[in-house]
Every structure is written in structure tokens, then in C-alpha cells.
Symmetry: C2
Subunit: 314 residues, 2 copies
């Protein structure tokens, strides 16, 4: 293939495909722009869960059994924080903590999130550029019967229990694209945009809410390929199914495609959802049916190849 | 006994006697005011080594084998910080980290160091009041052939190798006593001030440099008892012997007593230095000769009783 690939990623599922793309592409051909709407300030630390998921997956440090965080993790600081009377609902592992500490002090010292992310991913030997969607703080908030909740309060503290009525991205409009995302979108050699399998409402919409992203994607001259986050009509993980219902959407690939109307060329759906293909094609979306569950490196790389091939680059 | 005891403490040695006093006195009868000249900002954390030494000793969490920090410690965050290219010369244990995180975010949120210290010591079930010498930042700096070094750079990073020419306490004059120290000094029922065995130049002088402390001690109407940090003419730990030479002082109890001239009533010296007693008495200092090496709880409590007895309170 030739040309540059821009991957857009949310959390754990997106990070797996990002790692697959990193495994099959030369590092200079890949930019991974990551959702920062999940970021939050906690115990004085700036925590960027999706950037960390991508970073750990690309560095081979992700815990594949627990499904999030760093492999071989321990929780000794957390245990003492509890003993000191501090909040302990958000689990901060001892190995993971180094990332939060390094990022937080450098942000406070004046580095941008892009600069810090470049520094830390390079320190871990990651080749492709990993960039935040924006250097400005964007904070996803979910309206529930209890009022507006910050994302991590909704997602981790409340375990997505309250019914969601609406979602907003505090800081948008007004959040500029990060230099790395703007640069990737403007590259003359941009060959495709690949949307990794991530929650459309919680992980992708914040990226689309960043100033100029939706317009740039709508005006693009290259294929825009998404991998559906649904498998057998359900999300593998996280609150997507519940959210789709609460927000009055159908729990289907048609609803996913409709959500990206005007942007998407091609949707990769899981083989368990092969029956959805015809309806999607009737909506003007081209479809690839493929295994999308990524158990390990082999499936990640295979799905990356399927996505590149859908862009006629594989 | 009756009345309130004010103990002044530096690091590990001081913390041991503070723990001894805490074991033999009712909690409401003891205030421990701690040196904060060693405090520093590192990786975005406010680290207060002497407050932590006292806190861990009083909570029974101190590591008695390593001699500093928390018992049953691990260094998993530290190891990852190194992998991320961050400074790793100052060891931050995983259990210890909780203290730095809790303190740092609460200071940043606007609590004073006194408030944070009260909160964290109470969370650990510590009865006596542990207070910083001041809520204003005071930073000990050491002049060496390489110029002025921040204390932890001199002490930990450079392992006290450069010869010291002078010591200063950045932030003084101008640093007010903490409310807890001011209150203890002003108490009508103050019965004695006990100076724990700590380095005069590095641990005690910063306390004496806080606005009003030296004057209040000089004007006191109660006994001021010090436990010498020397054992057999040497400091048990730390750079005191080296510093005494570099700063042109004798390595002796007479030099310690001379350093506190006009303040001290009574010096407790180790039985290995019994020969110093006569000279000290000639200087007008009353002397108790006693075992001052605190291997464990028994020796800590015994030395606490000796100090209280020297104040005619035991």
C-alpha cells in the first residue's frame, strides 16, 4: 500500500484495532487520533483512559484478561488511599500510576497533551503517532435522572446504572483539533480514515464534536471505513446496547450507519451480523462481513488487513 | 505529669522519639511540630519527608529495617516511571505514594499543610497533633562547590557528596508559624519543649528560622530539653558528622550545645558520650546521660520517659 492512514479510536476495542494497524503498517504511515472526552481530573491527576488504552495496547502492556489497564498490575497505592480516607471508586494501578503522574506533572509544567503523549509513547517504543483529538479539555457528560454526570462518574462510579437522556461534550464547540490530527487530515498522501470499533455516542461523537473534524471528514476525498462495535447485535463490552435503547435508537448496524450518515463509505460488520448487510447496502453503505472479535494479535492484525482492504489499500 | 508537651522533630531519629512520647503521653498532652525544610516538589507531588517519617512512626507503618518509608513497601510505580523516562533518583514507594497523592491534591485544592496533615494523621488513627512548623513553604538549600542545591538534590540525588559551605532556608524570614505550633507555644499549660534527636543544621535550624520560633523559645518559662543526635561522637545516620566538619564546627556534644546557646536548658547525651557531661555542665547546660539509641518501641518509650523526667515531669 501507499499513503497515510488516520485511525480514530476510543477505548479498549478501538485500541485493539489500532494495535492491529500498528502491527501491519510501517509506523510512519499511521496516525492514531484518540478520544479524550473520557479524560478527567482525579486526586490531582489528569487521567486519559482512551489514550492509555491505545498506548498500552501498542506497547504490548495491556492486560488482556482484565480487559483494561496494565498487565501484571497491583493496587497498593489504591489500598493506602482508601486507608487515608480518599476516594477509591476509580481503580488506579501501581504500574498505571506512573503514566498518570508523568502526564499530570508535565501538563502542569506547560506541555500540551499532544507533547506529553508523544513523549510517553516514544519512551515506550511506540512507532506510529498517537495523538489526542484535541489539546483543549473536552469532557463528556451524561444527563441522567440525577442530572448531568461527568463521564467517569456515570461510567465507573455509577457503573452506567442511571438511564441516559442526553450526552454532551463540555468544551465543544471551541476545542481545536490537535496539531497531529489536523496534520493527518490535511496530508496530501492521506489514503483512508479508519474508525475503530468504539461506542459511537461515548467514544466517537466527542471526536466528531472537535472543531472542524466533522467538516473535514465530510469533505474528505479518501475512503472512510468503520468497524462496527456490534457483534451479534450487541456491544461486546460497555453500555452501548443500553444507551442505544435509552437514546431511542435501534440496537442495530443500521442505527450505527445512520448515526454516521453523510460521513461513512464502508462498514465492516461481524459475521454474526451478516444478515444486516443487505439493509446497509440499501442505505448506500458498502459492507464487508468479517470476524471482528479480536481475541489476540492474530485477529487484530487480520481485522486491520480487512479494513485496509476495504479501503482498497490491502 | 500534667501539662502539654511540645516536641520538635526532624526526620527518622526525631520521629522515633516522637513515637515514644506518643506512647507514654495522653494524646491531648502532645503536639509534635515537624520540620518542613526538606519538603520538595517532585513529579507534581508535594513531598514532606519529615512529616511522613513522624506520621509513619506514630501509625506503626514505618519500615524499621530500611530505616525510612513505609513497611512492606514496593516500587512498581517507580519502575514504570523510569521506563517512561522520568526522574527516578527519589524513591517513591507504592504505599507511600498514597500519602503524596492525597496531600498534593488537597494542597492544590486549597487546604493548608496543617489541615492536610491533621486530616491524614487522623485517618491513620494518630492521637497527638502532628503539625508542620509552618504552612508557608520553607525550603532548605545547601551551598556547595556546585552552587546552591535544593535539599533533596543535595541529600538524596547527590548523597551529600559535595562539601557544604553554607545552609539557608528559602522562604525565611517571612514564614509564619503554623497555627498548631503557635498555639502549643502559647498554651498556658505548656510544660516542656522537647527537641527530638535531629540534625541541628538540617532539621532543627529550619524550625528555628520560622518567624517567632526562636524568640518564643528564648522567652519560654518551661524547660527546653534536647536529645543529642550524636552517639559515640557520631551521628547514627545522615551527614551530621561530615557537615559539622565542613561548617567548621567540632564533632561533639559541646558543639551541639553551643549551637543552641541561649535556648537550651538540658541535653540528654548517649551513655557512650558520658565523658562530655562535665564540659557541658561547665557551659551551664544540665545533662542526663542515658541510652539514646532507639532500636524499637521499648527504647523509644524509655528515652521519652528520660526526657520527661529531665523536665521534672516524669
Amino acid at each position: 500500500m501507499s499513503g497515510h492512514i488516520l485511525a480514530l479510536s476510543g477505548g479498549v476495542g478501538g485500541a485493539k484495532l489500532a494495535a492491529g494497524l500498528a502491527a501491519v503498517l510501517p509506523p510512519e504511515d499511521l496516525t492514531i487520533a484518540v478520544n479524550t472526552g473520557d479524560d478527567f481530573e482525579h486526586l490531582g491527576l489528569t487521567i486519559c483512559p482512551d489514550i492509555d488504552s491505545v498506548t498500552y495496547a501498542l506497547a504490548g502492556l495491556n492486560d488482556t484478561v482484565r480487559g483494561w489497564g496494565v498487565v501484571d498490575e497491583s493496587w497498593r497505592t489504591m489500598e493506602r488511599l482508601g486507608a487515608l480516607g480518599e476516594e477509591s471508586w476509580f481503580n488506579l494501578g501501581d504500574r498505571d500510576m506512573a503514566m498518570h503522574l508523568a502526564r499530570s506533572w508535565r501538563l502542569r509544567a506547560g506541555e500540551s497533551l499532544s507533547e506529553v503523549t508523544a513523549r510517553l509513547t516514544q519512551a515506550l517504543g511506540i512507532g506510529p503517532r498517537v495523538v489526542p483529538m484535541s489539546d483543549a479539555p473536552v469532557r463528556t457528560q451524561v444527563e441522567t435522572e440525577d442530572g448531568w454526570l461527568d463521564f467517569q462518574h456515570y461510567f465507573v462510579r455509577e457503573q452506567c446504572r442511571p438511564a441516559a437522556r442526553a450526552i454532551r461534550f463540555d468544551g465543544t464547540p471551541g476545542a481545536a483539533m490537535s496539531p497531529g490530527l489536523a496534520e493527518a487530515l490535511a496530508r496530501p498522501d492521506l489514503a483512508a480514515v479508519i474508525l475503530c470499533p468504539s461506542n459511537p455516542f461515548l467514544s466517537v461523537d466527542p471526536i466528531l464534536a472537535v472543531d472542524g473534524v466533522r467538516d473535514a471528514l465530510a469533505a474528505r476525498k479518501v475512503p472512510f471505513i468503520a468497524v462496527s462495535p456490534l457483534v451479534g447485535g450487541q456491544s461486546l463490552k460497555g453500555p452501548l446496547g443500553k444507551l442505544l435503547g435509552e437514546l431511542g435508537r435501534e440496537n442495530s448496524n443500521a442505527a450505527i450507519a445512520a448515526h454516521y450518515a453523510g460521513l461513512l463509505d464502508h462498514l465492516i460488520i461481524d459475521e454474526s451480523d451478516a444478515a444486516d448487510a443487505e439493509g446497509l447496502r440499501a442505505m448506500g453503505i458498502s459492507v464487508t462481513v468479517a470476524p471482528t472479535v479480536m481475541y489476540g494479535a492474530a485477529e487484530r492484525e487480520q481485522l486491520a488487513r480487512v479494513a485496509l482492504s476495504a479501503a482498497r489499500l490491502g
